[in-house]
């Protein structure tokens, strides 16, 4: 193998696939990155056996071949080089990869490409295309609600359902549920649903970045895999194992009615919730929300957001509501769950729908019906 490429391109490629390099390796070769030549380009691949990432770097190929080298060593060395041409030459006899650029010259021990786990490819299956902005927004609003502990594996994933021209993403960790509906750019022929690890979704979100080209999704539930192809200045493929199991039937967990519906200004209520979280932190992390209809016509309806800790003290913010429908409502949330949902909704207005203080609270942005977030309350003394 003998190739030349630009330091800048190689460095960027390594940074991309570096996210898939195994950190603790049961299979040591997974700490390596696979270099190979494909379609007159240098192809970089890495896998931790759960996610595999592949990207292509423009290069001039003098001699084809493939080899694996320790990812961290290569990445750090390439990053330390000036932005110049890098020559990569594999000495078949010694098995050393020579890397030279300007005055620098290094030899790195390699492991044969045949020892690298096969990088799965997804060629067939259901293909869909989605607008990168729509995809990013869906992942941002959903993936955080997935469980982080492994005790119930399916909950560490995001359920993604494709149906005609629509997709639905849902995640739940046993105490909250986030559901987002979005449009596909094409229409799929068959309805399909898979559970994708939340980690994959977060990586995808990061890689999509500010690209404008549609993201391609290829699902093959039969093989237990999904592939995302990100286009743009460079091409990246992420292949992820799917989580096996049955995702909770969340439709039935979304309350169909409410007794109180309060519409609040997001930045204002987020600020108050953050203040309350400071006090909740030393107690049980409980933030109470007391929704109050207007007492007189001239007065606006209000929400009291409060927290207390026996040791520290307490605080209460009274925030004007835009609107309230129904009666007075009381509900208490874990501060993290409340802050998480308010933070991803970010701007505009949000409606909080409650029934009793022991039934779920439902958050919906007022500007669209795309998103529903259900948070289970905490039992507290009022």
């Amino acid at each position: 193998m003998k190739i030349s490429c630009l330091q800048e391109n190689l460095s960027r490629g390594l940074a991309v696939v570096g996210r898939a390099v195994a950190s603790r390796a049961t299979l040591p070769v997974t700490q390596n990155v696979l270099l190979s030549v494909e379609q007159s380009m240098l192809k970089l691949s890495a896998t931790n056996l759960e996610i595999a990432m592949t990207t292509w770097v423009g290069a001039s190929i003098q001699e084809e071949g493939s080899i694996t080298v320790p990812a961290r060593l290569l990445t750090e060395f390439v990053n330390s080089l000036p932005n110049d041409t890098i020559d990569l030459t594999l000495d078949q006899g010694s098995g050393l990869l020579e890397i030279s650029s300007g005055n620098s010259n290094a030899h790195i021990n390699t492991t044969e490409a045949s020892e690298f786990p096969p990088i799965p490819t997804v060629d067939d299956g259901i293909a869909a295309q989605v607008d990168p902005l729509v995809l990013k927004s869906a992942i941002t609003r959903v993936a955080f609600a997935a469980a982080t502990e492994e005790s119930r594996p399916v909950l560490t994933g995001v359920e993604m359902k494709l149906d005609a021209g629509k997709f639905t993403m849902a995640a739940a960790d046993g105490f909250r549920l986030a559901v987002h509906h979005g449009d596909l750019l094409n229409s799929v022929s068959e309805e399909m649903s898979v559970i994708i690890p939340a980690r994959t979704m977060n990586e995808l979100n990061r890689l999509v970045g500010d690209r404008e080209e549609p993201v391609e999704i290829l699902m093959t539930p039969a093989k237990g895999q999904v592939m995302f192809r990100v286009q743009g200045a460079d091409r990246i493929e992420i292949v992820s194992q799917l989580l096996q199991g049955t995702f909770p039937n969340y439709e039935q967990l979304i309350p169909q009615s409410y007794t109180t519906r309060a519409i609040m200004d997001l930045p204002t209520v987020l600020r108050s919730a953050r203040t309350a979280a400071i006090f909740a932190r030393d107690g049980s992390n409980i933030i109470r929300m007391h929704l109050l209809p207007a007492e007189a016509d001239s007065e606006p309806p209000k929400v009291e957001i409060s927290a207390r800790s026996e040791e520290v003290g307490d605080n209460k913010d009274v925030v004007d509501l835009d609107e309230i429908e129904g009666e007075e409502g009381k509900i208490a949330f874990n501060s993290r769950y409340l802050l998480d949902v308010l933070a991803v909704l970010d701007k505009g207005k949000v409606a909080l729908e409650t029934t009793t203080s022991s039934s779920p609270g439902v958050f919906r942005p007022t500007d669209s019906d795309d998103y529903i977030h259900v948070v289970m309350p905490m039992f507290v003394q009022w």
Partner: protein
């Protein structure tokens, strides 16, 4: 009121009260009869804690049909016939009081057949009066069914505890007999569910396994000690010092295979453990002391729970020696306890400590406790050491212990125990402030419980709710779980309930009710040994620990930290 002789019916009831105190006493009397009848299989079935029904079925040698009615008369027994017999009682029963006493306070049905007879005999008694009798088919052996216990003594019934509590006494009793009669296959059926069985294989270890479970069994030491001079013999099992309990309930003694309660024997065992267990910790013990029959008086208490020894001192020293011998044989360095104990008074250092703690050599089962005992106790560790110079984290050892130091030396902190203490205090405080954080669950889960878990749940229902569990009965040991304590947010809610119940069931026998639930919750929520911690996490944990009122022990009484004084370390390196 004039003085008069009580009518027989009344005096019988009074006498019955001495023998039959509660359902467990009925079971005890009947099981002892079965054992005396040479049974190899004994099945005990109880309903509603034994108050509704107790049934004891054996495959013993049965009672001849013509003697059944006699057996129900006071002081009627086949086990003793002369004064000489009474001086050397080899059977468990002998007073001839059990059947009459039981039949006076219940409705009793006896079914019995001698193996060589073709037909059995059935007789029914209601409140001490014979109701019906006659030939009846039945398998060989005797089955006695006692229903509506104390139905004619409402006062006694009122003093009975909940049926779960009575059932657990019976369970304890049956399992104790299973320990000392490993050749008998015991089966206990509580409300239609088999709650305990022993194999009856004759192997004491199998009986131990059935009673204490795998984990405890592996930590038990076998004792077999013959004193040729006195003819006394001590057999059974004691726990290695690594395994201990918070009270004496797990110390079971038998004298000539008769279950007895004896302060003297407990004391002898505790003496043997001197220096090996922490203060207020007690071993698990199941010992049978075999003493020539003439040297023990079992006719001392109507329920035969207490016995008298002719040579009390002899018994004491035999038991103590036997137990100590087993402990010493197990311990890799028998002299360990004493030299180290003297170390706190600044005498000879023992190089063993460092070796055993750091070499990672698989040390004896008892090892961790030796060190904790020596060092976890004052004066090794005082509040001033902890709070005055705060601990600086040095690192983590075996992903289990935090190595920390301050000006008085080095500390090893058990991360699980330390976190448990922190959580326990937090949970306990929240509960007292009625602020227990209870997090409702998105997707209500149904949880199936084992009988033991079910019992633990019923016994601690109120506490579990106070600490943040919300559940409702869903039929047949299933519950719908709606909320869990907020500290369990990261785990599987169903699993957290099961774990807490398991721990409660286990600890519940030995601790105050309230603490059990909190301790179990803390234990489940705490970080486990084997989890690697970042430095920030370790610092935070030590800070939180220092802020608790009782940082030195975890809620189960184990030490959270072990101290190695600077003086000691310097001496080890020959700097002093």
């Amino acid at each position: 009121m004039t003085i008069k002789v009580l009518p027989p019916n009344l005096s019988a009831k009074i006498a019955a009260g001495e023998v039959v105190e509660r359902p467990a006493s009925v079971v005890k009397e009947l099981v002892e009869n079965s054992i005396d009848a040479g049974a190899s299989q004994i099945t005990v079935e109880i309903k509603a804690g034994g108050v509704e029904q107790i049934k004891v079925i054996d495959d013993g040698h049965g009672i001849p049909a013509d003697e059944v009615a006699v057996a129900f008369q006071r002081h009627a027994t086949s086990k003793v016939d002369t004064q000489d017999h009474l001086d050397a009682i080899a059977t468990l029963g002998f007073r001839g009081e059990a059947l009459p006493s039981i039949s006076v306070v219940s409705r009793t049905i006896i079914l019995t057949r001698q193996p060589l007879n073709t037909a059995g005999f059935r007789m029914e008694w209601h409140w001490g009066e014979p109701k019906s009798s006659g030939v009846h088919g039945c398998p060989p052996g005797t089955s006695i069914e006692v229903s509506d216990l104390f139905g004619n003594l409402p006062a006694r019934r009122k003093f009975l505890r909940s049926s779960t509590a009575e059932a657990s006494r019976i369970q304890e009793l049956v399992s104790r007999y299973a320990l000392v009669f490993p050749g008998v296959r015991f089966q206990l059926v509580v409300d239609g569910r088999t709650s305990f069985t022993s194999t009856g294989s004759g192997l004491p270890l199998e009986a131990l396994l059935a009673v204490y479970g795998h984990q405890a069994t592996t930590a038990m030491l076998e004792i077999h000690d013959d004193d040729l001079e006195t003819g006394y013999q001590v057999d059974g099992f004691v726990s290695a010092p690594s395994l201990s309990r918070a009270n004496r309930r797990y110390m079971t003694f038998f004298v000539n295979r008769r279950w007895v309660q004896s302060r003297m024997l407990s004391y002898a065992v505790e003496e043997a453990y001197m220096g090996l267990l922490q203060v207020k910790r007690f071993p698990l013990v199941a010992l049978n002391i075999i003493i020539p029959y003439q040297d023990v008086d079992v006719n001392y208490h109507p329920s035969k729970r207490e016995v008298r020894f002719r040579e009390e001192n002899q018994v004491f020293s035999t038991v103590q020696r036997a137990v100590r011998g087993a402990l010493v044989a197990d311990s890799p360095v028998p002299s360990l306890a004493s030299p180290y104990a003297s170390d706190s008074q600044s005498t000879i250092p023992t190089p063993f400590l460092l070796r055993s703690t750091f070499s990672g050599v698989p040390n004896g089962r008892g090892m961790p406790d030796y060190s904790s005992n020596r060092i976890g106790e004052p004066p090794g560790l005082t509040d001033s050491m902890l709070s005055a110079p705060p601990l600086n984290v040095v690192g983590q050892l075996k992903q289990t212990y935090i190595v920390a130091e301050n000006s008085v030396g080095m500390f090893l902190v058990d991360q699980h125990a330390a976190h448990e203490r922190v959580l326990f205090d937090q949970i306990y405080e929240e509960r007292n402030q009625k602020e227990s954080a209870s997090q409702t669950i998105l997707d209500v889960v149904s949880v199936d419980l084992t009988p033991a878990q079910d019992d633990a749940l019923k016994a601690n229902q109120e506490e579990l709710v106070k600490y943040g569990f919300q559940f409702e009965y869903f039929g047949d040991r299933s519950y719908l779980l709606r909320a869990v304590p907020a500290i369990f947010r990261d785990g599987d809610p169903a699993q957290s309930l099961l774990d807490v119940l398991d721990m409660t069931a286990f600890e519940g026998l030995v601790r105050q009710k309230e603490d059990v639930t909190a301790a179990s919750i803390a234990c489940h929520g705490a970080i486990r040994a084997g989890k690697s911690l970042t430095e920030l996490e370790m610092v935070a944990l030590l800070e939180q620990l220092a802020a608790t009122p009782n940082p030195h022990t975890c809620p189960h009484g184990r030490p959270t930290m072990v101290h190695f004084s600077s003086m000691h370390i310097e001496r080890e390196f020959g700097r002093r």
